[in-house]
Amino acid sequence: MSALLEVDGLSVQLPVAGEFRTVLQDVSFSLEAGQTLGLVGESGSGKSMTVRSIARLLPPGARTTGSIRFDGASVLDLRGDALRKFRSRDVSMIFQDPRAHTNPVRKIGDFLTEAMRINGKVPPREAERRAVELLAEVGIHDGERRLKQFPHELSGGLLQRVMIAASLAVKPRLILADEPTTALDVTTQSEVMAILARLQREYGMAMLFITHDLELAAAVCDRTVVMYAGAMVEHQDSSRLHTDPLHPYSAALMQARPEIDRRVPRLPAIPGHPTSAFEAPDGCAFAPRCRFAEDACRAALPPLESMGDAAYSRCRRAAELRGHLLATAEHSGGLGDGAGVGDSAGLEEEVAR
Protein backbone atom coordinates (compact mmCIF):
# COMPACT_ATOMS: atom_id res chain seq x y z
CA MET A 1 0.00 0.00 0.00
CA SER A 2 1.49 3.30 -0.97
CA ALA A 3 1.34 6.23 1.40
CA LEU A 4 -0.98 9.21 0.99
CA LEU A 5 1.82 11.68 1.60
CA GLU A 6 5.45 11.01 0.86
CA VAL A 7 8.14 13.58 1.62
CA ASP A 8 11.57 12.67 0.38
CA GLY A 9 14.82 14.54 0.90
CA LEU A 10 13.06 17.88 1.29
CA SER A 11 15.40 20.83 1.71
CA VAL A 12 14.38 24.47 1.70
CA GLN A 13 16.39 27.64 1.48
CA LEU A 14 14.93 31.10 1.97
CA PRO A 15 16.36 34.36 0.70
CA VAL A 16 17.23 36.50 3.70
CA ALA A 17 19.00 39.82 3.27
CA GLY A 18 20.39 38.88 -0.12
CA GLU A 19 21.64 35.39 0.68
CA PHE A 20 20.02 31.98 0.79
CA ARG A 21 19.69 30.42 4.21
CA THR A 22 18.89 26.81 4.82
CA VAL A 23 15.80 26.32 6.96
CA LEU A 24 15.12 22.65 6.22
CA GLN A 25 17.50 19.91 5.28
CA ASP A 26 16.83 16.40 4.15
CA VAL A 27 13.36 15.87 5.60
CA SER A 28 11.82 12.52 4.65
CA PHE A 29 8.74 10.77 5.97
CA SER A 30 5.53 9.23 4.77
CA LEU A 31 2.02 9.30 6.09
CA GLU A 32 -0.83 6.90 5.39
CA ALA A 33 -4.54 7.60 5.34
CA GLY A 34 -6.03 7.54 8.82
CA GLN A 35 -2.64 7.99 10.49
CA THR A 36 -1.34 10.88 12.59
CA LEU A 37 2.26 11.97 12.41
CA GLY A 38 3.61 14.40 15.01
CA LEU A 39 6.30 16.96 14.19
CA VAL A 40 7.92 18.14 17.42
CA GLY A 41 10.60 20.77 17.95
CA GLU A 42 11.57 24.10 19.48
CA SER A 43 12.14 27.49 17.81
CA GLY A 44 13.91 27.21 14.47
CA SER A 45 13.48 23.44 14.29
CA GLY A 46 11.73 23.72 10.92
CA LYS A 47 8.48 22.04 11.92
CA SER A 48 6.26 24.83 10.63
CA MET A 49 8.41 25.22 7.54
CA THR A 50 7.84 21.56 6.70
CA VAL A 51 4.09 22.03 6.80
CA ARG A 52 4.30 25.22 4.80
CA SER A 53 6.30 23.43 2.14
CA ILE A 54 3.63 20.76 1.88
CA ALA A 55 0.82 23.32 1.62
CA ARG A 56 2.96 25.26 -0.89
CA LEU A 57 2.85 28.29 1.38
CA LEU A 58 6.54 29.16 1.40
CA PRO A 59 7.48 32.82 0.96
CA PRO A 60 8.28 33.90 -2.59
CA GLY A 61 11.83 33.17 -3.72
CA ALA A 62 12.21 30.04 -1.62
CA ARG A 63 14.39 27.31 -3.11
CA THR A 64 13.06 23.82 -2.64
CA THR A 65 14.74 20.52 -3.48
CA GLY A 66 13.60 16.97 -2.90
CA SER A 67 10.07 15.75 -3.51
CA ILE A 68 6.65 15.85 -1.93
CA ARG A 69 4.12 13.40 -3.35
CA PHE A 70 0.45 13.47 -2.47
CA ASP A 71 -1.48 10.44 -3.67
CA GLY A 72 1.27 9.83 -6.21
CA ALA A 73 1.28 13.36 -7.67
CA SER A 74 4.22 15.69 -7.20
CA VAL A 75 3.03 18.58 -5.04
CA LEU A 76 5.99 20.79 -5.90
CA ASP A 77 5.03 20.64 -9.58
CA LEU A 78 1.36 21.55 -9.12
CA ARG A 79 0.32 24.68 -11.01
CA GLY A 80 -2.81 26.74 -11.45
CA ASP A 81 -6.07 24.81 -11.15
CA ALA A 82 -4.40 21.64 -9.92
CA LEU A 83 -2.71 23.57 -7.10
CA ARG A 84 -5.98 25.29 -6.22
CA LYS A 85 -7.79 21.99 -6.10
CA PHE A 86 -5.02 20.47 -3.97
CA ARG A 87 -5.25 23.31 -1.48
CA SER A 88 -9.02 23.61 -1.40
CA ARG A 89 -10.10 19.96 -1.60
CA ASP A 90 -7.26 17.66 -0.62
CA VAL A 91 -5.64 19.39 2.34
CA SER A 92 -6.88 21.68 5.08
CA MET A 93 -4.83 23.70 7.50
CA ILE A 94 -5.65 24.47 11.11
CA PHE A 95 -3.59 27.24 12.68
CA GLN A 96 -2.45 28.14 16.16
CA ASP A 97 -4.34 31.41 16.28
CA PRO A 98 -7.83 31.02 14.84
CA ARG A 99 -8.58 34.69 15.43
CA ALA A 100 -5.85 35.76 13.03
CA HIS A 101 -7.38 33.56 10.36
CA THR A 102 -10.94 34.82 10.53
CA ASN A 103 -12.27 38.11 9.29
CA PRO A 104 -13.49 39.99 12.37
CA VAL A 105 -16.33 41.75 10.55
CA ARG A 106 -17.83 38.66 8.93
CA LYS A 107 -20.21 36.31 10.69
CA ILE A 108 -19.37 32.70 11.47
CA GLY A 109 -22.08 31.66 9.02
CA ASP A 110 -20.50 33.53 6.11
CA PHE A 111 -17.16 32.05 6.99
CA LEU A 112 -18.47 28.48 7.04
CA THR A 113 -20.66 28.61 3.96
CA GLU A 114 -18.46 30.69 1.70
CA ALA A 115 -16.41 27.81 0.31
CA MET A 116 -19.51 25.66 -0.22
CA ARG A 117 -21.36 28.39 -2.07
CA ILE A 118 -18.43 29.28 -4.29
CA ASN A 119 -16.69 25.95 -4.87
CA GLY A 120 -19.58 23.54 -4.54
CA LYS A 121 -22.28 25.89 -5.91
CA VAL A 122 -24.55 24.89 -3.05
CA PRO A 123 -27.68 27.09 -2.61
CA PRO A 124 -27.49 29.37 0.48
CA ARG A 125 -30.19 27.59 2.50
CA GLU A 126 -28.64 24.20 1.87
CA ALA A 127 -25.17 25.57 2.73
CA GLU A 128 -26.50 26.88 6.01
CA ARG A 129 -28.01 23.53 6.89
CA ARG A 130 -24.68 21.85 6.11
CA ALA A 131 -22.86 24.40 8.29
CA VAL A 132 -25.10 23.61 11.25
CA GLU A 133 -24.36 19.91 10.72
CA LEU A 134 -20.63 20.59 10.60
CA LEU A 135 -20.80 22.56 13.82
CA ALA A 136 -22.64 19.66 15.43
CA GLU A 137 -19.81 17.39 14.32
CA VAL A 138 -17.34 19.47 16.32
CA GLY A 139 -19.60 19.47 19.36
CA ILE A 140 -21.31 22.82 18.84
CA HIS A 141 -25.00 22.04 19.19
CA ASP A 142 -26.50 25.54 19.02
CA GLY A 143 -25.27 26.00 15.47
CA GLU A 144 -28.13 28.23 14.22
CA ARG A 145 -27.29 30.80 16.89
CA ARG A 146 -23.52 30.58 16.31
CA LEU A 147 -23.87 31.20 12.57
CA LYS A 148 -25.19 34.67 13.35
CA GLN A 149 -22.31 35.53 15.70
CA PHE A 150 -19.04 37.32 15.00
CA PRO A 151 -15.62 35.79 15.75
CA HIS A 152 -15.03 38.07 18.77
CA GLU A 153 -18.17 36.74 20.44
CA LEU A 154 -16.65 33.25 20.59
CA SER A 155 -13.99 31.98 22.97
CA GLY A 156 -10.67 30.73 21.59
CA GLY A 157 -11.65 27.10 21.99
CA LEU A 158 -15.02 27.58 20.32
CA LEU A 159 -13.45 29.49 17.45
CA GLN A 160 -10.86 26.77 16.94
CA ARG A 161 -13.73 24.27 16.69
CA VAL A 162 -15.32 26.48 14.05
CA MET A 163 -12.02 26.41 12.16
CA ILE A 164 -11.99 22.63 12.35
CA ALA A 165 -15.60 22.51 11.13
CA ALA A 166 -14.63 24.76 8.23
CA SER A 167 -11.73 22.53 7.31
CA LEU A 168 -14.07 19.53 7.34
CA ALA A 169 -16.50 21.14 4.93
CA VAL A 170 -14.53 19.90 1.93
CA LYS A 171 -13.79 16.48 3.46
CA PRO A 172 -10.03 16.81 3.02
CA ARG A 173 -7.83 13.75 2.95
CA LEU A 174 -5.00 15.42 4.83
CA ILE A 175 -5.14 17.84 7.73
CA LEU A 176 -2.14 20.02 8.48
CA ALA A 177 -2.50 21.13 12.08
CA ASP A 178 0.06 23.78 13.10
CA GLU A 179 0.02 23.99 16.92
CA PRO A 180 -3.80 23.98 16.89
CA THR A 181 -4.13 23.83 20.68
CA THR A 182 -1.13 25.86 21.87
CA ALA A 183 -3.15 29.01 22.47
CA LEU A 184 -5.94 27.12 24.24
CA ASP A 185 -6.47 26.25 27.89
CA VAL A 186 -5.63 22.67 28.84
CA THR A 187 -9.23 21.64 29.36
CA THR A 188 -10.14 23.08 25.96
CA GLN A 189 -7.11 21.44 24.40
CA SER A 190 -8.32 18.10 25.61
CA GLU A 191 -11.76 18.66 24.04
CA VAL A 192 -10.37 19.89 20.75
CA MET A 193 -7.95 16.95 20.51
CA ALA A 194 -10.80 14.55 21.21
CA ILE A 195 -12.83 16.08 18.38
CA LEU A 196 -9.90 15.89 15.99
CA ALA A 197 -9.23 12.26 16.87
CA ARG A 198 -12.88 11.25 16.41
CA LEU A 199 -13.27 13.05 13.10
CA GLN A 200 -10.06 11.58 11.83
CA ARG A 201 -11.35 8.10 12.65
CA GLU A 202 -14.73 8.70 11.06
CA TYR A 203 -13.48 10.38 7.91
CA GLY A 204 -10.27 8.36 7.60
CA MET A 205 -8.19 11.50 7.23
CA ALA A 206 -4.43 11.66 7.66
CA MET A 207 -3.09 14.33 9.97
CA LEU A 208 0.26 16.06 10.28
CA PHE A 209 0.31 17.46 13.80
CA ILE A 210 2.83 20.13 14.73
CA THR A 211 3.56 20.87 18.35
CA HIS A 212 6.34 21.91 20.70
CA ASP A 213 4.84 19.59 23.33
CA LEU A 214 6.47 16.18 23.21
CA GLU A 215 3.95 14.77 25.71
CA LEU A 216 1.03 15.85 23.59
CA ALA A 217 2.58 14.41 20.43
CA ALA A 218 3.29 11.14 22.17
CA ALA A 219 -0.30 11.00 23.42
CA VAL A 220 -2.14 11.74 20.17
CA CYS A 221 0.16 10.72 17.30
CA ASP A 222 0.86 7.27 15.89
CA ARG A 223 4.38 8.21 14.95
CA THR A 224 6.51 11.18 15.95
CA VAL A 225 9.28 13.06 14.21
CA VAL A 226 11.55 15.14 16.44
CA MET A 227 13.20 18.03 14.61
CA TYR A 228 16.18 20.18 15.49
CA ALA A 229 17.77 22.99 13.48
CA GLY A 230 15.84 22.17 10.31
CA ALA A 231 16.57 18.44 10.31
CA MET A 232 14.83 15.33 11.59
CA VAL A 233 16.81 13.89 14.46
CA GLU A 234 14.48 11.05 15.39
CA HIS A 235 11.48 9.29 13.86
CA GLN A 236 9.68 6.42 15.49
CA ASP A 237 6.45 5.12 17.02
CA SER A 238 5.10 7.56 19.60
CA SER A 239 4.47 4.73 22.02
CA ARG A 240 8.19 3.99 22.31
CA LEU A 241 9.37 7.59 22.35
CA HIS A 242 9.13 7.87 26.12
CA THR A 243 10.79 4.65 27.07
CA ASP A 244 13.27 4.30 24.25
CA PRO A 245 14.33 7.65 22.81
CA LEU A 246 16.92 7.29 20.08
CA HIS A 247 18.49 10.74 19.97
CA PRO A 248 20.10 12.64 22.85
CA TYR A 249 18.03 15.72 21.96
CA SER A 250 14.66 13.97 22.34
CA ALA A 251 15.79 12.43 25.62
CA ALA A 252 17.10 15.76 26.93
CA LEU A 253 13.90 17.55 25.89
CA MET A 254 11.79 15.04 27.79
CA GLN A 255 13.94 15.35 30.88
CA ALA A 256 14.04 19.15 30.81
CA ARG A 257 10.25 19.32 31.09
CA PRO A 258 9.03 19.44 34.70
CA GLU A 259 6.58 16.70 35.65
CA ILE A 260 3.17 17.07 37.15
CA ASP A 261 3.56 14.29 39.72
CA ARG A 262 6.97 14.99 41.15
CA ARG A 263 9.40 17.75 41.89
CA VAL A 264 13.09 17.33 41.26
CA PRO A 265 15.82 19.26 43.09
CA ARG A 266 17.10 20.56 39.75
CA LEU A 267 15.70 20.23 36.28
CA PRO A 268 18.21 18.70 33.88
CA ALA A 269 18.22 21.77 31.64
CA ILE A 270 19.79 21.66 28.19
CA PRO A 271 22.58 24.24 28.09
CA GLY A 272 22.65 26.80 25.29
CA HIS A 273 19.63 27.68 23.17
CA PRO A 274 17.87 26.19 20.15
CA THR A 275 19.31 27.27 16.82
CA SER A 276 18.04 27.52 13.28
CA ALA A 277 19.60 25.47 10.51
CA PHE A 278 21.60 28.38 9.12
CA GLU A 279 23.03 29.29 12.54
CA ALA A 280 23.99 25.72 13.32
CA PRO A 281 27.66 24.76 13.38
CA ASP A 282 29.18 22.13 11.09
CA GLY A 283 28.57 18.56 12.06
CA CYS A 284 25.68 17.57 14.30
CA ALA A 285 23.69 20.75 15.06
CA PHE A 286 22.92 19.57 18.58
CA ALA A 287 26.54 18.70 19.45
CA PRO A 288 27.29 22.00 21.28
CA ARG A 289 24.44 21.27 23.71
CA CYS A 290 24.80 17.51 23.89
CA ARG A 291 26.29 15.83 26.93
CA PHE A 292 27.27 12.82 24.86
CA ALA A 293 29.02 14.75 22.09
CA GLU A 294 32.51 13.75 20.99
CA ASP A 295 34.92 15.44 18.61
CA ALA A 296 33.76 13.24 15.75
CA CYS A 297 30.19 14.55 16.21
CA ARG A 298 31.34 18.02 15.23
CA ALA A 299 32.96 16.85 12.01
CA ALA A 300 29.98 15.99 9.82
CA LEU A 301 26.19 15.91 9.99
CA PRO A 302 25.31 12.24 10.49
CA PRO A 303 22.65 10.70 8.23
CA LEU A 304 19.26 9.60 9.52
CA GLU A 305 19.91 5.93 10.12
CA SER A 306 17.56 3.05 10.67
CA MET A 307 17.55 1.54 14.14
CA GLY A 308 15.21 -1.30 13.17
CA ASP A 309 11.42 -1.46 13.68
CA ALA A 310 10.85 1.59 11.49
CA ALA A 311 12.81 3.72 13.94
CA TYR A 312 15.40 6.24 12.83
CA SER A 313 17.99 8.42 14.53
CA ARG A 314 20.43 11.04 13.33
CA CYS A 315 23.03 10.40 16.03
CA ARG A 316 26.29 8.70 15.23
CA ARG A 317 26.35 7.19 18.73
CA ALA A 318 22.69 6.12 18.64
CA ALA A 319 23.31 2.38 18.76
CA GLU A 320 25.91 2.65 21.50
CA LEU A 321 23.80 5.03 23.63
CA ARG A 322 20.48 3.26 23.17
CA GLY A 323 18.94 2.57 26.54
CA HIS A 324 21.30 4.94 28.35
CA LEU A 325 19.95 8.26 27.13
CA LEU A 326 17.45 8.59 29.96
CA ALA A 327 19.91 7.63 32.69
CA THR A 328 20.12 10.60 35.01
CA ALA A 329 23.24 12.52 34.22
CA GLU A 330 25.35 13.06 37.32
CA HIS A 331 26.37 16.41 36.00
CA SER A 332 22.87 17.31 34.77
CA GLY A 333 24.08 18.89 31.61
CA GLY A 334 26.74 20.82 33.50
CA LEU A 335 24.35 23.28 35.11
CA GLY A 336 24.37 24.32 38.68
CA ASP A 337 27.44 22.65 40.09
CA GLY A 338 28.40 24.78 43.00
CA ALA A 339 29.44 27.66 40.81
CA GLY A 340 26.57 29.73 42.14
CA VAL A 341 23.40 30.99 40.64
CA GLY A 342 24.70 32.57 37.52
CA ASP A 343 26.79 29.65 36.38
CA SER A 344 24.75 29.05 33.29
CA ALA A 345 26.15 32.30 31.94
CA GLY A 346 28.66 30.79 29.61
CA LEU A 347 26.33 28.04 28.61
CA GLU A 348 23.35 29.97 27.59
CA GLU A 349 23.08 31.93 24.45
CA GLU A 350 25.86 33.95 22.94
CA VAL A 351 25.19 37.52 21.99
CA ALA A 352 25.20 37.89 18.25
CA ARG A 353 27.91 40.29 17.31
Binding site: A17, R21, S43, S48, M49, P59, D178, S276
Partner: protein, 288 residues
Protein backbone atom coordinates in the same frame (compact mmCIF):
# COMPACT_ATOMS: atom_id res chain seq x y z
CA UNK B 1 7.86 30.69 17.82
CA UNK B 2 7.44 29.62 14.25
CA UNK B 3 10.35 29.12 11.93
CA UNK B 4 9.46 32.31 10.09
CA UNK B 5 9.55 34.23 13.32
CA UNK B 6 12.86 32.60 14.15
CA UNK B 7 14.30 33.77 10.87
CA UNK B 8 13.02 37.27 11.37
CA UNK B 9 14.49 37.15 14.85
CA UNK B 10 17.89 36.01 13.63
CA UNK B 11 17.77 38.71 11.01
CA UNK B 12 17.05 41.31 13.63
CA UNK B 13 19.90 40.08 15.74
CA UNK B 14 22.51 40.07 13.01
CA UNK B 15 21.60 43.43 11.57
CA UNK B 16 24.05 45.90 12.93
CA UNK B 17 22.38 49.25 12.61
CA UNK B 18 18.69 48.72 12.61
CA UNK B 19 18.18 52.45 12.86
CA UNK B 20 18.07 52.33 9.11
CA UNK B 21 20.93 53.98 7.39
CA UNK B 22 19.47 52.18 4.42
CA UNK B 23 17.32 54.65 2.54
CA UNK B 24 16.16 53.84 -0.94
CA UNK B 25 17.79 55.62 -3.86
CA UNK B 26 14.83 57.98 -4.03
CA UNK B 27 15.21 58.63 -0.32
CA UNK B 28 18.88 59.46 -0.69
CA UNK B 29 18.16 61.81 -3.62
CA UNK B 30 15.48 63.56 -1.57
CA UNK B 31 17.88 63.95 1.35
CA UNK B 32 20.56 65.31 -0.99
CA UNK B 33 18.16 67.84 -2.52
CA UNK B 34 17.14 69.03 0.93
CA UNK B 35 20.79 69.34 1.94
CA UNK B 36 21.56 71.46 -1.15
CA UNK B 37 18.55 73.65 -0.51
CA UNK B 38 19.62 74.08 3.10
CA UNK B 39 23.16 75.02 2.02
CA UNK B 40 21.71 77.55 -0.42
CA UNK B 41 19.65 79.08 2.36
CA UNK B 42 22.66 79.37 4.63
CA UNK B 43 25.38 80.41 2.22
CA UNK B 44 23.20 81.83 -0.57
CA UNK B 45 23.56 85.43 0.54
CA UNK B 46 27.36 85.08 0.22
CA UNK B 47 27.06 84.13 -3.43
CA UNK B 48 24.93 87.10 -4.20
CA UNK B 49 26.89 89.72 -6.15
CA UNK B 50 24.01 91.92 -7.17
CA UNK B 51 21.80 93.63 -4.56
CA UNK B 52 18.52 91.67 -4.70
CA UNK B 53 16.52 94.82 -4.02
CA UNK B 54 18.27 97.10 -6.52
CA UNK B 55 15.65 98.41 -8.94
CA UNK B 56 16.63 98.89 -12.59
CA UNK B 57 13.48 99.77 -14.51
CA UNK B 58 15.32 99.82 -17.81
CA UNK B 59 16.09 96.12 -17.42
CA UNK B 60 12.52 95.02 -16.66
CA UNK B 61 11.80 91.47 -17.88
CA UNK B 62 15.25 91.18 -19.43
CA UNK B 63 16.36 87.69 -20.27
CA UNK B 64 19.49 86.00 -18.89
CA UNK B 65 22.75 87.90 -19.30
CA UNK B 66 26.26 87.61 -17.80
CA UNK B 67 25.34 90.11 -15.03
CA UNK B 68 21.89 88.67 -14.46
CA UNK B 69 22.17 84.89 -14.76
CA UNK B 70 18.42 84.27 -14.73
CA UNK B 71 17.32 87.65 -16.00
CA UNK B 72 15.39 90.43 -14.21
CA UNK B 73 11.88 90.92 -12.85
CA UNK B 74 9.26 93.58 -13.57
CA UNK B 75 11.22 96.16 -11.60
CA UNK B 76 14.49 95.02 -13.13
CA UNK B 77 15.69 93.33 -9.92
CA UNK B 78 18.13 90.42 -10.39
CA UNK B 79 16.18 87.14 -10.26
CA UNK B 80 19.13 84.94 -9.34
CA UNK B 81 20.05 86.96 -6.27
CA UNK B 82 16.38 87.31 -5.25
CA UNK B 83 15.91 83.53 -5.43
CA UNK B 84 19.08 82.94 -3.43
CA UNK B 85 18.40 85.48 -0.73
CA UNK B 86 14.75 84.40 -0.70
CA UNK B 87 15.80 80.84 0.13
CA UNK B 88 16.49 81.59 3.78
CA UNK B 89 13.19 83.44 4.29
CA UNK B 90 11.30 80.74 2.44
CA UNK B 91 12.87 77.91 4.44
CA UNK B 92 13.26 79.42 7.91
CA UNK B 93 9.51 80.05 8.11
CA UNK B 94 8.46 76.42 7.57
CA UNK B 95 11.32 75.27 9.80
CA UNK B 96 10.03 77.40 12.65
CA UNK B 97 6.51 76.11 12.06
CA UNK B 98 7.71 72.51 12.17
CA UNK B 99 9.83 72.96 15.29
CA UNK B 100 7.13 74.84 17.18
CA UNK B 101 4.28 72.52 16.23
CA UNK B 102 6.35 69.37 16.85
CA UNK B 103 7.50 70.47 20.30
CA UNK B 104 4.06 71.68 21.28
CA UNK B 105 2.20 68.72 19.77
CA UNK B 106 4.54 66.16 21.32
CA UNK B 107 4.37 67.77 24.74
CA UNK B 108 0.58 67.90 24.62
CA UNK B 109 0.25 64.33 23.41
CA UNK B 110 2.69 62.84 25.90
CA UNK B 111 1.11 64.58 28.86
CA UNK B 112 -2.36 63.62 27.66
CA UNK B 113 -1.32 59.97 27.34
CA UNK B 114 0.42 59.86 30.71
CA UNK B 115 -2.18 61.74 32.73
CA UNK B 116 -5.01 60.03 30.88
CA UNK B 117 -8.63 60.24 32.02
CA UNK B 118 -10.55 63.47 31.50
CA UNK B 119 -7.37 65.37 30.53
CA UNK B 120 -6.69 63.01 27.67
CA UNK B 121 -10.29 63.19 26.45
CA UNK B 122 -10.23 66.99 26.65
CA UNK B 123 -7.02 67.16 24.63
CA UNK B 124 -8.40 64.70 22.12
CA UNK B 125 -11.55 66.84 21.70
CA UNK B 126 -9.55 70.03 21.20
CA UNK B 127 -7.30 68.30 18.68
CA UNK B 128 -10.33 67.12 16.72
CA UNK B 129 -11.90 70.58 16.80
CA UNK B 130 -8.80 72.39 15.54
CA UNK B 131 -8.21 69.60 13.05
CA UNK B 132 -11.56 70.32 11.46
CA UNK B 133 -10.35 73.81 10.43
CA UNK B 134 -8.26 74.02 7.27
CA UNK B 135 -4.80 75.22 8.34
CA UNK B 136 -4.70 77.98 5.78
CA UNK B 137 -8.09 79.33 6.77
CA UNK B 138 -6.98 79.38 10.38
CA UNK B 139 -3.82 81.20 9.40
CA UNK B 140 -5.79 83.79 7.44
CA UNK B 141 -8.03 84.31 10.46
CA UNK B 142 -4.94 84.63 12.66
CA UNK B 143 -3.46 87.37 10.51
CA UNK B 144 -6.50 89.45 11.36
CA UNK B 145 -5.38 89.22 14.99
CA UNK B 146 -1.59 89.27 14.70
CA UNK B 147 -1.42 91.35 11.56
CA UNK B 148 0.44 90.40 8.41
CA UNK B 149 4.09 89.44 8.08
CA UNK B 150 6.25 86.33 8.42
CA UNK B 151 6.04 86.24 12.21
CA UNK B 152 2.26 86.28 12.28
CA UNK B 153 2.06 83.65 9.54
CA UNK B 154 4.47 81.36 11.39
CA UNK B 155 2.53 81.63 14.65
CA UNK B 156 -0.75 80.98 12.90
CA UNK B 157 0.53 77.94 10.99
CA UNK B 158 2.26 76.54 14.09
CA UNK B 159 -1.06 76.54 15.89
CA UNK B 160 -2.85 74.85 13.03
CA UNK B 161 -0.11 72.21 12.61
CA UNK B 162 0.07 71.29 16.30
CA UNK B 163 -3.03 69.06 16.34
CA UNK B 164 -1.71 67.13 13.36
CA UNK B 165 1.50 66.22 15.19
CA UNK B 166 -0.29 65.74 18.51
CA UNK B 167 -2.72 63.26 16.97
CA UNK B 168 0.05 61.11 15.52
CA UNK B 169 2.18 61.24 18.67
CA UNK B 170 -0.79 60.43 20.87
CA UNK B 171 -1.58 57.28 18.91
CA UNK B 172 2.01 56.07 18.97
CA UNK B 173 2.46 56.93 22.65
CA UNK B 174 -0.75 55.09 23.58
CA UNK B 175 0.52 51.94 21.88
CA UNK B 176 3.88 52.30 23.58
CA UNK B 177 2.31 52.91 26.97
CA UNK B 178 0.38 49.67 26.79
CA UNK B 179 3.57 47.60 26.53
CA UNK B 180 4.60 45.60 29.60
CA UNK B 181 7.94 47.37 29.97
CA UNK B 182 6.13 50.59 30.81
CA UNK B 183 4.11 48.74 33.47
CA UNK B 184 7.36 47.31 34.84
CA UNK B 185 8.85 50.80 35.11
CA UNK B 186 5.72 52.11 36.84
CA UNK B 187 5.94 49.28 39.33
CA UNK B 188 9.55 50.28 39.99
CA UNK B 189 8.32 53.75 40.93
CA UNK B 190 9.62 55.86 38.04
CA UNK B 191 7.94 59.23 37.61
CA UNK B 192 5.49 59.61 34.75
CA UNK B 193 7.66 62.36 33.28
CA UNK B 194 10.75 60.11 33.38
CA UNK B 195 8.94 57.26 31.69
CA UNK B 196 7.45 59.58 29.06
CA UNK B 197 10.66 61.44 28.27
CA UNK B 198 13.30 58.77 28.79
CA UNK B 199 11.47 55.71 27.50
CA UNK B 200 8.34 56.45 25.49
CA UNK B 201 9.71 59.50 23.64
CA UNK B 202 12.94 57.86 22.32
CA UNK B 203 10.93 54.91 21.08
CA UNK B 204 8.58 57.07 19.04
CA UNK B 205 11.16 59.71 18.07
CA UNK B 206 11.63 58.14 14.64
CA UNK B 207 7.95 58.51 13.86
CA UNK B 208 7.90 62.08 15.16
CA UNK B 209 10.87 63.24 13.11
CA UNK B 210 9.51 61.50 10.03
CA UNK B 211 6.23 63.37 10.37
CA UNK B 212 8.10 66.61 11.03
CA UNK B 213 9.90 66.16 7.71
CA UNK B 214 6.61 65.55 6.01
CA UNK B 215 4.97 68.61 7.51
CA UNK B 216 7.95 70.76 6.48
CA UNK B 217 6.82 70.34 2.91
CA UNK B 218 3.24 71.30 3.71
CA UNK B 219 4.36 74.28 5.80
CA UNK B 220 6.50 75.53 2.92
CA UNK B 221 3.52 75.44 0.58
CA UNK B 222 1.17 77.04 3.10
CA UNK B 223 3.60 79.85 3.91
CA UNK B 224 4.26 80.45 0.24
CA UNK B 225 0.53 80.61 -0.30
CA UNK B 226 0.15 83.16 2.48
CA UNK B 227 2.95 85.24 0.98
CA UNK B 228 1.39 84.84 -2.45
CA UNK B 229 -1.89 86.36 -1.31
CA UNK B 230 0.04 89.05 0.51
CA UNK B 231 -0.50 87.97 4.10
CA UNK B 232 2.97 86.50 4.70
CA UNK B 233 6.33 87.98 3.82
CA UNK B 234 5.96 91.63 2.85
CA UNK B 235 7.64 93.48 0.00
CA UNK B 236 10.40 94.15 -0.72
CA UNK B 237 11.87 91.12 1.17
CA UNK B 238 12.65 88.33 -1.28
CA UNK B 239 10.61 85.18 -0.76
CA UNK B 240 9.64 82.39 -3.15
CA UNK B 241 5.95 82.58 -2.35
CA UNK B 242 5.91 86.35 -2.66
CA UNK B 243 7.86 86.05 -5.91
CA UNK B 244 5.16 83.88 -7.43
CA UNK B 245 2.69 86.56 -6.36
CA UNK B 246 4.61 89.40 -7.90
CA UNK B 247 5.43 87.25 -10.92
CA UNK B 248 1.73 86.86 -11.71
CA UNK B 249 1.69 90.13 -13.62
CA UNK B 250 4.60 88.88 -15.73
CA UNK B 251 2.75 85.71 -16.66
CA UNK B 252 -0.02 87.80 -18.22
CA UNK B 253 2.62 89.63 -20.25
CA UNK B 254 4.15 86.31 -21.34
CA UNK B 255 7.18 86.92 -19.11
CA UNK B 256 6.75 84.04 -16.64
CA UNK B 257 10.42 83.63 -15.53
CA UNK B 258 10.00 85.01 -11.99
CA UNK B 259 6.96 82.89 -11.07
CA UNK B 260 8.39 79.89 -12.88
CA UNK B 261 11.74 79.82 -11.09
CA UNK B 262 10.20 80.41 -7.67
CA UNK B 263 7.57 77.70 -8.23
CA UNK B 264 10.21 75.28 -9.45
CA UNK B 265 12.25 75.71 -6.27
CA UNK B 266 9.16 75.26 -4.11
CA UNK B 267 8.07 72.16 -5.99
CA UNK B 268 11.51 70.57 -5.79
CA UNK B 269 11.88 71.26 -2.07
CA UNK B 270 8.39 70.12 -1.21
CA UNK B 271 8.70 66.97 -3.30
CA UNK B 272 11.99 66.13 -1.61
CA UNK B 273 10.62 66.75 1.88
CA UNK B 274 7.51 64.69 1.15
CA UNK B 275 9.27 61.70 -0.34
CA UNK B 276 11.86 61.63 2.42
CA UNK B 277 9.15 62.06 5.05
CA UNK B 278 6.99 59.35 3.50
CA UNK B 279 9.85 56.93 3.51
CA UNK B 280 10.79 57.71 7.10
CA UNK B 281 7.18 57.36 8.25
CA UNK B 282 6.83 53.97 6.59
CA UNK B 283 10.08 52.78 8.08
CA UNK B 284 9.30 53.92 11.59
CA UNK B 285 5.92 52.20 11.36
CA UNK B 286 7.51 48.95 10.25
CA UNK B 287 10.00 49.06 13.05
CA UNK B 288 7.62 49.53 15.91
Amino acid sequence: MTALAAIAEARRRTRKRPLGRHLSILGWCAAAVLAVVALLAIFGPLLVTVDPNAVDLSGAYSGPSPEHLLGQDASGRDLFSRLLSGASTSLVGPLLVVVASTVLGTALALSAVWIGGWFDSAIARVIDAVFAFPGLLLAILATSIFGTGLQAAVIALSISYTPYIARIVRGAALRERSLPYVAALRVQGLRGTSISLRHILPNIAGLISANATLSFGFALIDLAALSFIGLGVQAPTADWGAMIGSGMAGILQLEPQEALWASLLIVITVAAANSLGDELVKRSENRS
